[in-house]
């Protein structure tokens, strides 16, 4: 089996180019690749399009933040495609100030659109959002006596994901609810960088326990000690 290059968080950050669509795993910071995200803040990248479940948690009073929150604060994004921004007031401020375009997508639709991109599908028909603002500008189809929204596939240029463990081939195992969007984004992005807490030899992961097969992963980054996630 082929081994995957192990690179530093800074090297990973340098692979992300301005203007790209970046998909970032994590749910309110749980399961986000914090070492790589930190390196992106340091690199001062901007004008990215973010695809993520949310813009994570930013609490200025408690000086607490996680996930993509510091990248939001660093104005790294021109556009975010997310299901939730309620826990990061800075997202809302930038949106109201006209500095950031926010596209809100129902969480299940977001998951399916990302998965569709990874699976070579053009889109899916979902009942979610029919009759709401979400349907604006979208095709509606009558199938099996029900009205559905056509939601298109959402691919990414770079996927920044986080796993609990990898083997050297790049097979990934996630931990608990830190799994969330990570395996979907691993399928949907041209370049996939997986931050992991533990690296094991090839053959140490039972092939029935692999969550993301190695072929989806291009590079591995070791989480730094004490990183938030």
């Amino acid at each position: 089996m082929i081994t995957k290059p192990i690179i530093s968080a800074a090297e990973a950050a340098a692979m992300v180019k301005t203007g790209q669509v970046v998909q970032v795993g994590g749910f309110l910071g749980c399961g986000s690749p914090d070492s790589v995200l930190g390196a992106l803040v340091t690199a001062g990248i901007n004008n990215l399009v973010l695809v993520c479940n949310d813009t994570s948690v930013l609490d200025e009073k408690k000086q607490r933040s996680n996930g993509v929150a510091d990248l939001i604060k660093a104005a790294a994004f021109s556009k975010v495609i997310v299901s939730h921004i309620g826990t990061n007031p800075e997202t809302q401020r930038q949106m109201n100030a006209g500095e950031l375009e926010v596209v809100l997508v129902p969480q299940g639709t977001l998951a399916e659109r990302i998965r569709a991109a990874g699976c070579g599908l053009g889109g899916i028909l979902t009942p979610t959002g029919v009759g709401t603002e979400v349907e604006q500008g979208k095709q509606k189809l009558l199938v099996a006596d029900r009205v559905w929204l056509l939601e298109e596939a959402l691919p990414g240029d770079v996927g920044l994901i986080k796993a609990r463990k990898a083997d050297k081939a790049g097979n990934l195992v996630y931990s608990k609810t830190a799994r969330n969007f990570n395996p979907l984004m691993a399928m949907a992005c041209k370049l996939v960088i997986a931050e992991v807490e533990e690296l094991v030899e090839i053959g140490e992961i039972d092939p029935d326990h692999v969550h993301t097969p190695s072929i989806f992963v291009d590079y591995l980054v070791m989480s730094r000690e004490g990183s938030k996630s």
Partner: protein, 221 residues
């Protein structure tokens, strides 16, 4: 004269008594989360959390938190024996696919047509819908949990929502701190009321059309 006093615990207690053993339930963030504390001991519900977990257990003891194990509100939780983890596509497959029996959600507005608004006050506050649109679309029964009146005294139970909708004609049951309502044919049917409130008081203090059911009775939680 009856004075309105907010009582979230009563709402949670009443909702918790709706479930029967084996029901799969998703509890939203905030008030709905409280419901978990009041499920009767002889009823075993299975809690689903849309961030990727079934078999949600109680909050861990301080110091026992696991950074990789949270609920959809990013609070540390635990998993019960027999629970399982999955990715977000599978999680919403469970939800949208009709495998969740009850979803309990918070409310900005809920109207007598069963419409719900809870994700956006344009120009003011836009948290986003998160999983709420899928949950209301997919769950077998949608329960809205809300205090009956705003701080301003305005009724949360509307004739027609004015805010952008989260769910169109999906709400089945509304439980407030004055009563238990079912939505049927474009009207609220009052099934139970919390004393000291009376059906008349409730009709008077609600924007929406209230029908007092024939078997309407006081609720003992």
């Amino acid at each position: 004269m009856i004075e309105y006093v907010e009582n979230k615990e009563n709402i949670a207690r009443r909702i918790a008594r709706i479930f029967k053993t084996g029901d799969v339930v998703n509890l939203g963030i905030g008030l709905p989360t409280l419901v978990g504390n009041f499920v009767p001991e002889d009823v075993t519900v299975i809690l689903q959390s849309e961030n990727g977990l079934i078999g949600l257990g109680p909050a861990p003891a301080p110091g026992k938190e696991d950074k990789d194990l949270t609920n959809a509100g990013a609070m540390p939780v635990s998993i019960l024996p027999g629970g399982a983890y999955f990715d977000s596509a599978t999680s919403f497959g469970i939800i949208r696919g009709g495998h969740v029996d009850y979803t309990v959600l918070g409310v900005l507005e809920v109207d007598q047509e069963g419409n719900l608004a809870n994700y956006k006050i344009p120009g003011k506050m836009v948290p986003g819908m998160g999983g709420a649109m899928d949950l209301t679309t997919g769950s077998r029964v949608v329960i809205a949990a809300t205090t009956h009146l705003e701080k301003s005294g305005a009724s949360k139970l509307k004739r027609r929502c004015s805010l952008p909708l989260t769910a169109v004609r999906e709400v089945d049951i509304v439980v407030t701190d004055v009563g238990y309502f079912e939505i049927l044919g474009g009207k609220y049917y009052l099934r139970e009321y919390f004393e000291p409130y009376t059906p008349d008081w409730i009709k008077e203090h609600t924007d929406a059309e209230i029908v007092v059911g024939e078997d309407c009775k006081p609720c003992f939680c």
